[in-house]
Amino acid sequence: MTRELKYVGKPIARADAVDKVTGAAQYTHDLCLHGMLHTALVLSPHASARIVSIDIEKAEQVQGVRAVLTGNGLCYQLGLYLQDKCILARDIVRYHGEPVVAIAADTLDIANAACRLVEVQYEALPSLLDPRDAMEESAHLVHPDLHTYNYMKGVFFPKAHSNIAHHQKIRKGDFDRAFEKADIRLTASFYNPPVQHVPMETHAAVAQALPGNRIEIWTSSQSPYTVRHLLSVCFGLPHADVRVHVPYVGGGFGGKAGLGLEPLAYVLSRAAGGRPVKVVATREQEFNTLPSRQGLHSTIEIATSNDGKIVALKSTYIWDAGAYADYGVNIGRSAAYSGAGPYSIDNCWIDSYVVYTNKVFGTAFRGFGHLEVLWGIERAMDLMARKLGMDPVEFRKRNLLKEGDTTITGEAFTSGHGNPQQCLEAVAEAIEWRTPSAPPIEPHKVRGKGIAMLHKAPAMPTSTSCAVVIKLDEDGGADVLVSGVDYGQGTYTVLRQIAAEELRIPIEKVHITWECDTAFSPYDWQTVASRFAYMGGNAIIEAAADCLDQIRFVAAQALDVAPEDLECEHGTVYPKGHPDRGIPYSQLALGYTFENGNSIGGPIIGHGRFIAKGLTHLDPDTGQGLPAQFWTYGAHSVEVEVDTETGEIEILNIVSALDAGKVLNPKLCVGQVVGGVVQGLGSALWEGFVFDEKGRLLNPAFVDYKIPTAKDIPHRTQQILLENPQPGGPYGARGVAEHPMISIPSAIGNALYDALGIEFTTLPLNYERILTRIREKAESS
């Protein structure tokens, strides 16, 4: 008998909504501790230079300055996957905006004033701004000591004495032979610029060095336990001596994964005699000092048979890691094993290089390389369809992964993977794919339609795990302890739904506190990779079952019934079929007391765990293996209108279909899809760093780095959520958090071809780029 779900799958309102709209929610930015110092930074004005000397004497004399640090005394190498980063630049600066000196003072004004008194002498070095140049044998080395760095062995392959921080290979079948023999071949190149995450709350951390080498940190982070682990490794401290708090977080989008400003805040506090130190990134620093999304140069070769079956695909991905590649290496890895799109390809060859340059460095970003890779792949699919004279939808259908196929890493595709074809058909139907766009009223405008597929799996270590603790309260309610972070994506609301469903209590009685604290909250790796609802959800199910076992065990003695003959509903445990003889959880939560005063049981605390199952490292030479806990597939279709006189593009409609497995909360899921689509529009149309020839970032603020606003939301958007269940997912759910933004640029690029007959290969598709190409086309015809 299937029990009707009360909460899971229902449009439950966000648990954090009222705190956020009333301003009650407290963020790291809001935090103020007694005696707390404020930090200002001296940043490198060069993209690449040797630090000849740093004179901090005048700065140290300023009244109210408590600590002045340079990279000299800070001999630490930090990183999650590849330890290539220092806390402050040492000997050389590798990007314009890199912190060189940090000053903690009584006020921010004092710290800023002291920074202006620091004198740094630089000797400019040649700067590498294009990763393709950086791969040349003769290129200078951004990290001459790369061969000495620690990294995650067996997973990443930094190339000694080069600028290549990681080379991921995928080899399946015999590409050369299949390509040679194929009927039709195509080669195309594409480019994505680096972009910023632009969370509303910029990076911020408060740290206090405590007696006995202990550290206490408050930080705007996606990763409380990873911050703890990396700090404890870096400073050689027992894990328990590093305590990390994460209060409300104002957005992350991947940019707050791994380590951020925490180590700097800590060493400043240590230098300032243990006074708490706050470091807050200005908006400009968020752009030019803190990490961004990597740029990407792609070259894609596809070969098909005359009837449109892809027989071979080769991609070369050259990632512009910037000055540090600690996190970037994993993007180069994961985007490679996804690097041929959701297609069945027997002969595949991918080289994904993560390459150092002298630019602000890259890190995780919603989509983790997939928006970038699929910009090329999904544009190339349209180019190929045209070469074949096939409809782009038909061409994709012909090649999408189906049961019995294997992925490019050799994973068998099953019905449990979800249904990419259904996603494609749904968006094609909704946009009326077969019907050409209605002609616009104004003669200088044209319209077109485009379509693109997407896929992504969580990119995480094979041992990724998380835990949940549920404590029952005196009133029969439940406190759920987790250390995954809800930084806006809505996971805590979903976890409450699952907890209420599983514990059989009203959702109002389930509480999750918006503060993670490594001293109390159980372990979670990091809140990234669209895996929190999946892994945390499974752990909650196990923790709730543990609670119910304990409830039944005690109630069985109280009621003199075997535990297996008891059932739970409405916060009450009772003998099957006899709800009138039940005991409310409130009488069991701390232990059960008989009429004569004798007591049994004790406080009920359940715990649950989840660890990634069956994942393998990829073979270093072929990339074969199982990297994905699950895959999520989807598709977008769009209709655009272009003003051919100004290049202005208007999005008339975007339809998105995602196979969510099970929609745990339709309201939040639709919101997440709309948010992702709009963020994808940013990457498609406007966003991108602009550097001058010396490597200076020219648009490190919202004046000239435009992100979509409320006025830029398309006239129509439509969200189609499919539910082909995920085996092993909570209620059959799989992650959909990052996915909505992936392939939005591709679908728009494809629609622009339909509208204009122009092939765009470079992002962003801003008005100027569009008009330039329209004019070039007019001149050449």
Binding site: L108, D109, N112, A113, E645, T646, G647, L685, W686, V690, L698, N699, V703, D704, K706, P708, T709, A710, K711, D712, N766, Y767, E768, L771, T772, R775
Partner: protein, 282 residues
């Protein structure tokens, strides 16, 4: 974040001019602050004295009618945009003001501030230029008026003297003018103009005035153009040629000179269509 400066909330305009005179060029007038405070924070300006004029009731008034409109220095943009009579009397100006910043910013930003900031991209400037607006100025030596066309001296520079405060902007009688404003942005949301332009056409006199922003160190007012052509296309070509000769756009992070040169004729053409060819301009 802002460093140190003296802050005076003035009780009369005369007092403000006196303070500014004493500051001898190191003073700045604070109205909405949406440009000034950002520039101080970014280190582009470091005035020793801020004269806050928002407390003066006399500056927070505006009057609009067909014969003459006056807009005080501390009147916020949204006060104007949301005023029905203002909107119907000066639709092009209302359009221009509504394209400045965000709604929240327009609650603080002022029309007078928009021109005193003297950005080449100031959205109000082209409209004020084609409307023959007059800047009312107070100084230690007494009040004077400056036509807007003589107000801008360069990028972020005006012809004001250090002790002077702009008290209001006056717009002369509409006398049947048709007006239009066009702005090319990079995004639909708030943005500075890549190019902006305004036109005013007097059907009675058959004279067209055009002004262009973001294409020269200051907003550019063209000499009045007589409209006598029967051939719309030839006339449009002639006007566009004149416009392109009058400007000197540069390439910057916002747009290339090429894009500005490509879009400017389109904006002008659309203004001509609205004012002359369709004959339905307000």
């Amino acid at each position: 974040m802002l460093g140190n400066f003296e802050y005076k909330r003035i009780r009369s305009i005369e007092e403000g001019c006196q303070y500014l005179a004493e500051a001898a060029g190191d003073g700045a007038v604070l109205a909405g602050g949406t440009d000034l405070l950002v520039e101080i924070r970014n280190g582009l300006k470091s005035p020793q004295l801020l004269v806050d004029c928002k407390g003066l009731d006399v500056l927070n008034v505006f009057s609009v009618d067909d014969s003459r409109s006056t807009i005080g220095a501390s009147v916020a943009l949204n006060q104007l945009i949301e005023h029905r009579v203002f909107r119907t009397t000066h639709p092009a100006l209302a359009d221009a003001l509504a394209s400045i910043g965000t709604y929240q910013l327009r609650n603080r930003a002022t029309l007078v501030g928009n021109i005193c900031n003297a950005s080449p991209a100031a959205d109000a400037a082209p409209v004020l230029l084609v409307l023959d607006a007059v800047v009312e100025v107070a100084g230690v030596e007494g009040p004077r008026t400056v036509p807007v066309r003589s107000f801008f001296a360069g990028v972020k520079k005006t012809t004001l003297k250090p002790d002077e405060i702009v008290t209001a902007i006056a717009l002369p009688a509409r006398s049947g003018l048709r007006t239009a404003f066009r702005k090319q942005q990079r995004i639909r949301g708030h943005d500075l103009a890549v190019v902006n332009a305004a036109g005013a056409y007097s059907p009675a006199k058959k004279v067209l005035k055009l002004a262009i922003g973001s294409c020269a160190p200051t907003p550019v007012l063209l000499d009045p153009i007589e409209v006598d052509s029967k051939d719309n296309e030839a006339f449009a070509d002639h006007v566009i040629e004149t416009v392109l000769r009058a400007v000197s756009p540069i390439s910057d992070v916002r747009a290339s000179a090429g894009y500005r040169n490509a879009v400017l004729p389109i904006l002008v053409k659309r203004i001509l269509h609205e004012l002359l060819f369709e004959g339905s301009g307000a």
